[in-house]
Amino acid sequence: MSMTPEEAQNHAPKLDDVGEFLAHSLALENEAAERYDELADSMEVHNNHDVVALFRKLAEFSRMHAQEVKEIAAKYEVPHLKPWEFQWVDPEGPESGAIENSHYKMTNWHVLQLALHNEERGQKFYAGCAVLSDNADVKKLAQEFAEEESEHVDTLKEWIPRYPKPKENWDEDMDPPAVNE
């Protein structure tokens, strides 16, 4: 289903330079990998070992995608952008899931919800770039990347039933860190 330009603006900037588009794509994947690793580390530290492996696997996938983008990028001149020069529509990249939504007792079901949210945003980012850009090469690459992201979304949707939705009191802790509660 294609987006209208108005919708696209909610998800993507107008990038008319292939190098700049690829710089964004690389950052998107690298930052997603770093964020998943960061979450894996913090879950490890908090002894929530059940979710560490899944976070690591997601980090590994993002690194693989970064590598694929890197290979394409080798054919173009990709500029160095300072962190604040990226034109994401939100403060963070589309696949760097909101860190404040993690919890030390989160389950694999939550991890997959977070990953699904990220991949859906990534898909919309690329689809939006394809709609907004005036550059034929950017349009073509963005369309391809959007299709790949759709596949990732489908894969995650297949995985989700493997992990049952946790009970409502999943975050209950008999020895909570917050004594005020």
Binding site: E34, V45, P91, E100, H103, P177, A178
Partner: protein, 274 residues
């Protein structure tokens, strides 16, 4: 030999942060390391100094020189480091409790002394490390701590207004939820010759879970930085606690100790003779 381009990752140590998952300080660490990478100084030319608190753990998580000091004394320590080693880029990291309660006195004098260093003060309006007591920036009517069940009843400190009054020459506010924007503020702070202070609204999701809402409350300032003190004060009042950006960039030069400091002790003693 060609200089190696360092990335933000190079400025992170192998120590895994023990912050609560979701703590704003993770993003502050990312912003600091991103700003350092853009600045491009070698690891051995940078020092990060702190006091005590969750936020003060940052030196352990960076790969540059670090000193995890005494509660409230980070600015005094950092001033010493910078004066002894003016060639270093010095950053200071800490919390509102560390910097404004026990360290409040050092805060005032660091602002007026204007030693060339960058202070990143992570404001979560609570003492996180000691399990959630009110800090100097906590609202007077916050009742969630058993120590102050009816609120503190005390007006919260406005860190940037205080810094401005005390003579700080670079004043900015950032948000951990916008780590890229924050990296830019820290980068500019490092480039500013003199004391730069960046107040970072960094949620404590464990003891102040309602601070998750800051994400929808923070906004970019409508103004560019000013060099006019009265105007900076007016903007701080007008835009309130949730606007981000560089507010004030003043013209005063950085602290530069004059004299050789080698007056003989006997001469000094004469001053104290009864």
């Amino acid at each position: 030999m060609e200089a190696v381009q360092l990335t933000a990752k190079d400025y992170k140590s192998a120590v895994k942060p023990i912050w609560c998952p979701g703590c704003g300080d993770y993003s502050v660490l990312a912003a600091i390391t991103n700003a350092l990478a853009e600045h491009g100084r070698p690891l051995h030319d940078v020092a990060v100094i702190s006091g005590i608190g969750c936020s003060s753990r940052i030196p352990a998580y960076t790969s540059v020189y670090g000193f995890h000091g005494v509660h409230g004394r980070s600015l005094a320590l950092a001033s010493g480091v910078k004066l002894a080693r003016p060639d270093l880029t010095v950053l200071v990291a800490g919390g509102d409790g560390d910097g404004l309660s026990i360290g409040g006195n050092h805060f005032l004098h660091a602002c007026r002394r204007n030693v060339d260093m960058t202070y990143v003060i992570m404001d979560n309006q609570v003492y996180g490390m000691t399990k959630g007591q009110a800090s100097p920036t906590t609202d007077a009517d916050w009742t969630q701590s058993k120590l102050t069940p009816e609120g503190t009843g005390v007006n919260p400190v406005q860190p940037l207004t205080l810094a401005l009054a005390a003579g700080a020459q670079f004043i900015a506010r950032g948000f951990s939820g916008n780590p890229r924007g924050l990296a830019k503020l820290i980068y500019e702070g490092i480039n500013h010759p003199g004391f730069s202070i960046i107040q970072v609204m960094s949620p404590c999701i464990t003891y102040r879970p309602e601070q998750r809402d800051w994400k929808s409350m923070m906004k970019d300032s409508a103004y560019e930085a000013t060099d006019n003190l009265a105007e900076a004060n007016r903007r701080l009042l007008e835009e309130g606690d949730f606007s981000t950006g560089v507010i004030y960039k003043g013209p005063k030069p950085a602290f530069n100790p004059i004299g050789s400091g080698n007056t003989p002790i006997a001469e000094i003693e004469k001053e104290f003779a009864l």
